[in-house]
Amino acid sequence: MTAGSSHPRPSETPLSHRIVLNARHMPSYSYGHRSPIWWGTLSFAAAEGMGFVMVVGAYFYLVFINGNWPLSAPPPDLLWSSLFTVLMLASIWPNQMAKRDGEREDLSRSRRDLVIMSLIGLALLGIRVLELGTLHVRWDQNAYGSILWLLLGLHTLHLATDLGDTIVLTVLMFTRHGHGKRFSDVGDNAFYWYFVVASWPPIYVIIYWFPRWW
């Protein structure tokens, strides 16, 4: 033992245990901030939110560099995007229900809520495809088109990711795995959806209204 010579008390054997607490009857999962997954979701939302902030920052940087905006293109149409916004905001209600029914561990209601949320997600994705057709600019036309498509693409990516997540969870709730900790997952899925919803209104205003005001 080389370290022994200069060190006071190097230990070579594990310490004996002195039991001071028993965890046998602690719950095996919980909801919200008591669950590690919730913190993981929050951290991912933070990182991705930072991504949005960066792209939005770049958007305004380009606005100020150029002075005129939206460069040579007309502003994008409002119809589909506004419909998208309305549906997005409306989805808060079923989402809240899904969260609540999950927390109540009510299987049949959770199933119903998740099916509704999946359908809403699909509808939103459909509207998004139509929306992309009314932007009046291509990504390779000028910097305005580029940043517009990037911002919208980034949001679409999040929408699609959460939709995939919701659909898988919905299927899962219809299998024999639909109990116990899955209910906590329903809550976390709802939590992430809030992030997707919350990130949209600023983007909507920036993409669709800001060029009209500038």
């Binding site: 039991i19 001071v20 095996s28 990182a47 561990e105 000028n142 910097a143 580029s146 898988v168 899962l172």
Partner: protein
């Protein structure tokens, strides 16, 4: 002398009510499965003891043999070890490219290496050292040590952690294979547009660089989130915020910086690759874009990056100083607060990399002030460490020697950084060898020397064997001399007007002798690493056996066996002090009641570290590996066709579903 300590008394273990929340899992009024009593058939660790407990837990938490088992493992120690080894391999690759460059610069108009290869070499050197070594090495140590130090059995999200390692490995392998194939990036590690843009970097070289960024950033953010949640939710009962080891604090702050800084560089590299591949105009001034946008985005990440590299090192320094000073850390609160302050301030400095870009003067001087201000938290840290040593009884083993080397070099580098923070001075030394000297003093002094200390310090924990002290001293001596001989003259070469990133220079410039000295120093420095490699290899096989706690250190990782068993601890420890092993020399207070047959961990509350849940953590799975392969296919494919984003997401989705699909665990059978 009197005992003055942490808020709570050292010897008394707090009442169980202060260690556990005692709350139900389900919401009020809901009959939740979470509160169902545990199955009586399941063996729990209050029913067995001693070797039998160890053996059963080792079986439950172990990794299967064979290739599939190795690729399926979720053991943070195995993944952490791979992370550390991989990062150190990249350190050596980066070092080799540096030696090649130094040989080219040894004399004026040397024709050893042509401009094309030289440009690829310095790009690979910077890229490797920053993205494939600097960021991952800090995270790698976190992956291995944080769960041990906070007294838990695995990292939070162990599959995500495994996934991140493979993504990192694939990204690093991709760029080095590209380099071997002569498609290495040649645009510098920050790949400024327009040079890296579609017009001036034909071919795939810069695409490989940009995609490598995506790989490493995905990996980096994934690990950072795992670490954050581990520290927040998986701490041993009793580990209140003010009992978290300083190393863990450093890694926590570091992870936050990663989470907030890395999205900026992903944005920059994504814009770059979109410009290159699908013809967007983010950086095309003729169509409303701007070249400086890239620089802003890159440095908004790039400066925190420096602290991402430095913060884990402060954790190593704190751990080693305390152990070898034989005294608990002086100014714990001040150290933690300055870590946090450094984390925040690091986001307010990025413009000092752009002082010569012609930005408005007033804005620039704001960044002078903020850049200089960061000297304050760093100064507090340095002074607190010196104070700890002052009041301690330093024991001069190799780890402490490297820490002393760190002080010499890092403080010098930090001070020359103050010159760079000044707009007028920076206008002379920016982009010269003076800057090269400065950031090598900061990065090698601030990261590599502490890293070497950390390797000597934790090697017994990783392998169960001590490293050779004799070789260690030689290693330190050579490294210290080699480093200073290599890099100190660069300050002067820079002031004499030598810009960085030149593959050669004219004889009449008069830079020849200084460059020759630098090259000699670089060779000595590299030789010290060869010695290090030899020490690692020989000690791993023949080094003297180390007990669980060869240095008589105070933090929890030293309570586990060396190397730790798969379960880390036979029972989860209860923490009563910042240095639990110093406060409990006779017996360790522990929690019981966790399953022996299933992977259960204690989930605790964020601030008070009260035990709250006994949640099960994921079993090994091959899906994270498959998901990483699918991710690699998607990323690499998208360099060749944008449609890869579409078809590549299908296998990825399949892999992710496989990953999250619950297995038939006992929990599900109930």
């Amino acid at each position: 002398m009197t005992r003055t300590l942490t808020p709570h008394d050292v010897d008394a273990v707090p009442e169980p009510t202060r260690l556990a929340t005692g709350e139900r899992g389900g919401l009020p009024g809901v009959r939740s499965a979470a509160d169902a009593p545990p199955s009586p058939d399941e063996l729990r660790d209050d029913q067995v003891d001693g070797l039998e407990l160890s053996a059963r837990l080792a079986k439950t938490w172990g990794t299967d043999k064979g290739l599939i088992g190795a690729l399926s493992t979720v053991d943070h120690k195995i993944i952490g070890r791979r992370y550390i080894v991989t990062a150190i391999i990249f350190l050596f690759l980066g070092g080799l490219s540096a030696v090649a460059m130094r040989l080219q610069l040894a004399q004026p108009e040397n024709e050893l290496i042509g401009p094309d290869l030289y440009n690829q070499l310095f790009t690979m050197h910077g890229t490797t050292m920053m993205f494939l070594f600097g960021v991952p090495i800090g995270e790698a140590f976190a992956v291995y040590l944080v769960p041990l130090m906070v007294g838990t059995r695995n990292i939070a999200f162990p599959r995500l952690n495994a996934f991140s390692y493979y993504v990192y490995l694939f990204g690093g392998a991709m760029i080095w294979v590209a380099f071997m194939l002569n498609i290495g990036p040649d645009v510098g590690w920050f790949a400024y547009v327009p040079l890296s843009g579609p017009e001036f970097s034909p071919g795939k070289r810069a695409d490989f660089w940009a995609q490598m960024i995506t790989f490493t950033e995905v990996a980096g953010i994934a690990v950072a989130i795992s670490v954050i949640v581990t520290v927040f939710k998986l701490r041993a009962p009793g580990m209140t915020l003010d009992r978290i080891p300083l190393f863990v604090w450093a890694e926590l702050v570091n992870s936050f910086v990663i989470v907030f800084a890395l999205p900026a560089v992903v944005t920059a590299s994504a814009m770059l690759i979109l410009d290159r591949l699908v013809g967007t105009h983010f950086f095309n001034p003729a169509e409303g874009g701007d070249a400086l946008l890239y620089q802003h985005l890159f440095w908004f990440f790039g400066h925190p990056e420096v602290y991402i590299i430095f913060l884990p090192a402060t954790g190593w320094v704190s751990a080693i100083v305390v152990t070898f000073a034989r005294r608990q850390a002086f100014g714990y609160i001040a150290l933690v607060l300055s870590l946090i302050a450094t984390g925040f301030l690091s986001f307010g400095l990025w413009v000092h990399h752009m002082f010569t870009a012609g930005l408005p003067q007033l804005g620039a001087s704001f960044f002078t002030a903020s850049s200089m201000l960061i000297a304050i938290p760093n100064g507090i840290q340095i002074f607190c460490w010196i104070a700890t040593l002052w009041d301690g009884r330093p024991i001069f083993r190799t780890p402490l020697l490297f820490i002393i080397g760190f002080f010499f070099i890092f403080v010098a580098g930090g001070l020359s950084g103050i010159m760079l923070a000044s707009v007028p001075l920076d206008s002379q030394v920016h982009d010269t060898f003076f800057v090269v000297a400065h950031f090598h003093y900061v990065l090698i002094g601030g990261n590599v020397f502490p890293l070497l200390a950390a390797v000597y310090y934790w090697f017994p924990k990783f392998t169960g064997r001590m490293m050779s002290e004799r070789i260690g001293i030689w290693h330190f001596g050579l490294a210290f001399i080699g480093f200073n001989v290599a890099f100190f003259p660069m300050h002067i070469t820079g002031l004499m007007g030598m810009p960085r990133r030149v593959y050669t220079y004219l004889p009449e410039m008069g830079w020849g002798n200084l460059n020759l000295i630098s090259t000699i120093g670089a060779v000595i420095f590299f030789a010290s690493f060869v010695l290090f490699l030899y020490n690692l290899a020989s000690s791993a096989r023949r080094g003297p056996m180390a007990g669980p706690n060869p240095w008589d250190a105070g933090t929890l990782e030293w309570a586990a066996a060396s190397p730790p068993l798969p379960q880390n601890f036979d029972r989860i420890p209860v923490v009563t002090n910042r240095e639990p092993l110093w406060a409990n020399r006779d017996s360790l207070p522990v929690v019981t009641g966790l399953s022996v047959d299933n992977r259960e961990q204690i989930v605790s509350t964020i601030t008070h570290g009260r035990a709250d849940l006994r949640e099960s953590t994921p079993e090994p799975s091959i899906w994270p590996f498959i998901a990483a392969v699918a991710t690699a296919i998607l990323f690499i494919g998208s360099m060749f066709t944008p449609w890869a984003v579409v078809w590549g997401s299908l296998p990825l989705a399949v892999a992710l579903i496989g990953w999250f699909w619950p297995k038939m665990s006992t929990e599900d059978e109930r």
